[in-house]
Amino acid sequence: MSTEWPEEIYGLLREGGVDQFAYVPDAGHDHLIKRSIADPEVHSIALTTEEEGVGMLAGAHLGGGRGVLLMQSSGVGNCINLLSLTRAGRFPFLTLVSMRGDFGEGNPWQIPMGQSTQPVLEACDVTCLRIDSPSEVGSTISAALTMAFQNEMPIAVLLGQRLLGAKKF
């Protein structure tokens, strides 16, 4: 996988003031995870489950910080009830979701959550922006940062498997 567009994402997040990176282990977010761990200016926090990231990002905002949650589409399902904190408190929320169960998926176990990721997020009042090509990265991440932190909106950027490449089985 290219590291060029992930590096562009990292630069934009940092320019946008993001200083808390909450993540679960994931191949699609590998570069962002490594970059955040190596960056002494940010907190890079390994979670045991994605929903911890929902609480953590709200806490960051309460204290004047900005966070991003890096997760896979399968983790979206783990966040649902805690997104009521985001919505009830009108907290900014920014997540980057690496898609599985998407374009060219070869593992049928990934299909159910992958196919329901966007409808589930939208049902929870999270606005979804999708990236399928490296050329869309800059404008989409910039838009997401503005919408999340200026409007205090919940935003999910879905990184599609056209962009990431489907895992081979």
Binding site: I45, T48, G59, L62, G63
Partner: protein
């Protein structure tokens, strides 16, 4: 079994319930919080929030939950990381902490020097139907905190142990965890505004000077 004639919870939803702890939750939480000075507080839903509001009043530097059960500890982590020069105390209950017990590991690994957790353990789910929780049936959340890797852990069963635990919460250089083994009862409800957005803005106004 409790004797219905001497049950202190007679006539309340906690009637007939017993726990291994006997501390008064309102007194124990207030004693610990009074020792902490100028802190930011995240109060988990239901009983824990009541204990905090009873202890410190309707203070802008308290963010209290009305739902989203399981998120108090992780919210405290994000807040502690964003405010390294302030001490952050999370007050939560055994039921809430059991829902996301992995957060203890996440906090231990991040190990912020300014984050303390108080778990008010009455061994019951007081907000719902006062059903027994795992902590009354053998599960020890202090051991789980220790096993998660938190270095500073205390279990408090007696009033005399509160001072040492409060000192640890105030002075610990890493994440700290206090398990309060309290009696099961139903203290009076503490009314607060339900609007979480209002609480968020008030908290940020007090801390940052803007909503």
């Amino acid at each position: 079994m409790t004797d219905p004639n001497t049950d202190p919870n007679k006539g309340t939803r906690a009637e007939g319930r017993t726990a291994t702890g006997h501390l008064d939750r309102r007194v124990a939480v207030k004693t610990l919080l009074d020792m902490q000075g100028d802190v930011l507080i995240v109060a988990g839903l239901a009983g824990a929030k009541g204990d905090v509001v009873a202890a410190v009043g309707d203070d802008p530097r308290v963010f209290g939950f009305g739902g989203a059960m399981g998120a108090a500890a992780s919210m405290g982590l994000g807040l502690a990381l964003a405010q390294p020069n302030k001490r952050v105390i999370v007050v939560t209950g055994d039921g809430e902490l059991l829902m996301n017990v992995g957060t203890l590991a996440t906090i231990a690994v991040a190990n912020p020097s300014n984050l303390g957790i108080i778990c008010v353990d009455n061994e019951h789910y007081g907000e719902t139907g006062f059903q027994r929780s795992h902590t009354g049936l053998g599960t020890d959340l202090a051991v789980m905190a220790q096993g998660g890797g938190i270095g500073a852990v205390r279990t408090v069963r007696e009033t005399a142990e509160l001072e040492d635990a409060g000192e640890m919460l105030r002075n610990s250089n890493g994440a700290a965890f206090v398990l309060l083994k309290v009696a099961v009862n139903e203290p009076p409800k503490m009314r607060t505004v339900w609007d979480a957005s209002w609480h968020k803005n008030r908290f940020r106004e007090a801390l940052l000077g803007h909503p």
